[in-house]
């Protein structure tokens, strides 16, 4: 009975009789759970009103259909981008605060955050995989040409080191562990920018120089914003405030630089102000400015710190989700790919 069921499932949508034909083709093991509807469902969603004739000389493309494929990543990937940034920033602070008497609580909190980030992070990434059971294949080879491979190894290494650091606590012997962890953390918080830049996506490829800056700056801001939500002593508060001030200024600066770099491809840059991507990207800007404004208010109340931390955290999340959505939005316009490639080409 079970055999019959799997046979039917395997031949789904292939119109072949398993009695007469063997399923041995290259795509025989391609599982079809949701057969294509028999009618009425377009194979690709149509984002624009499309002419029934292909574009003429002035506006050449193929029925304005997307030239590239949209990124397939789901919410868990930008959520990881955020968590990875926090883990990286915390790893660095944990190292520098290690063994300093007044910063004991901060150091232990940062070790905890680094551990949480490097363990929950891979879980989020696994959740996005099409075949979750094969997540260990990420460590099957090392491909330096792939930022994702570099990132997987750094994340795995940082996870191991963060676990070790958490066990060792603030013992002096833990110094080498935290140092190595800080190194891994720096890669984890920045490589995601390189990962997006290393793509054919017109927006991400066009901003590959500022994306690593943006991710690293936002990692500083997100780490300090999250730390602002915890109760710390006055000395530690000063550390977090200074780290956060630098981070927020750097994030605002990188966002401005990012927009400048993106503007070199106006068709792709338009994605930053369109639909869901526009809401998220402009939300990121708004929440960051609000976070800076609140932290500039006079006084040192707990409420003020928490409000600034919350606003900056929301901004940092909007930034990661906005970048993914903008990447999806950018490929919906084929001219974003074509015009950028035609620039400076006289043919």
């Amino acid at each position: 009975m079970i055999g019959l069921f799997t046979k039917q499932q395997a031949t789904a949508e292939r119109e072949l009789d398993p009695q007469l034909a063997h399923l041995t083709g290259e795509a025989a093991k391609l599982h079809v759970k949701h057969p294509a509807a028999q009618q009425g469902v377009p194979p690709i969603p149509l984002w624009q009103k499309v002419p029934s004739q292909p574009g003429e000389a002035a506006h050449q493309d193929y029925y304005r259909l997307p030239l590239l494929k949209e990124p397939v990543w789901i919410w868990s990937v930008p959520a990881y981008f955020y968590l990875g940034g926090v883990a990286g920033g915390s790893a660095l602070l944990a190292t520098l605060a290690h063994g300093k008497r007044g910063l004991k609580k901060l150091a232990s909190l940062c070790r905890g955050l680094a551990f949480a980030g490097t363990t929950v992070g891979p879980a989020l990434l696994t959740y996005d995989l099409g075949r979750m059971g094969r997540f260990l294949n990420m460590l099957r080879v090392f491909r330096p040409s792939s930022p994702m491979s570099v990132g997987s190894w750094s994340l795995a290494g940082s996870g191991a080191l963060a676990t070790l650091a958490l066990i060792q606590g603030d013992r002096p012997a833990a110094k080498p562990t935290t140092r190595a962890l800080a190194g891994g953390g720096l890669v984890v918080s920045g490589y995601t920018g390189v990962l997006l830049g290393n793509s054919a996506n017109p927006l991400w490829q066009g901003t590959r120089l500022t994306l690593p800056l943006l991710f690293t700056a936002s990692a500083i801001a997100s780490t300090s914003a999250l730390l602002e939500l915890f109760t710390l002593n006055r000395q530690e508060e000063r550390v977090v405030r200074r780290f956060g001030t630098i981070g927020k200024i750097a994030e605002a600066g990188s966002m401005a630089l990012f927009e400048l770099e993106a503007a070199q491809n106006p068709e792709a840059a338009r994605a930053l102000n369109r639909s869901k991507a526009g809401v998220l990207w402009n939300g990121a800007k708004g929440f960051l400015v609000a976070g800076i404004a609140v932290s500039l208010l006079p006084g040192h109340s707990v409420g003020k710190r928490r409000a600034a931390g919350t606003l900056t955290t929301i901004g940092a999340l909007c930034l990661r989700f906005g970048l993914l959505e903008a990447g999806k939005e950018a490929v919906r316009d084929p001219q974003a790919v074509i015009k950028a490639q035609r620039k400076g080409d006289g043919r």
């Binding site: 599982h31 493309d61 300093k100």
Partner: protein
Amino acid sequence: MEPHGFFTDTSVCIGCKACEVACKQWNQLPADGAYFSGRSYDNTMHLESTTWRHVAFLERSRQLSGQTTARPFSWLFLSDVCKHCNRAGCLEACPTGALVRTEFASVYLQPDVCNGCGYCVVACPFGVINRREDDGRAWKCTLCYDRQKVGLEPACAKTCPTDSIFFGPVGELQVRAQARLLELHRKGVHEARLYGMTELDQPGTEGLNAFFLLLDRPEAYNLPPEPRVPTKEVGRAWGMMGLAAAGMVAAAIAAVRAGGEK
């Protein structure tokens, strides 16, 4: 083994879609559903995880040079396929090693290794490869690796009634393509051009193992005019990351100093 590939000569393509059908049949790919797109006879619209050959249809209200028609009209077809680039974006991005270069110089995806991370989807400058959501893995043209291993030509080339899709050693294909281009130019079809044949034609991919003869600009067929493999430009991005990391260390040191105690 010598590199093998396709030379797709669009000037003799008749848009019969036999290649699409042969590919589906041989590889036992599932159907994509019946849908009328309203875009000439192109109801497939793009290459997909389950569509490894796609015929593009261009109905234009102008003639090809050297052509005589009752009214300005020309109808162009192109059978699109994975280009099996010499520098392949998907292959260089794949973190699991599922995508490999075969002994025939084609780019092959091992379905038993792929974990569906989706990085190849954004790394391909042609928009060829995609993840099939209900299967979970990425899929694309294998250049009929199974047929090549036993000395057969790929299903699409075998079935093509006009030899628009021509399969063979890449060196021989290049000679054939050059001769065909000269012949067309001699006949007055000045629009004819080769797409991605050598590294000189397309430095961004260092040449394609499946290249084309086109009768219009590449973007008219939804091909990128100057594709570049992302990894060719990513060096400076790593440099920026190093710079940013140095800045982050400086920020953290400054912050801890602000704590007062040394």
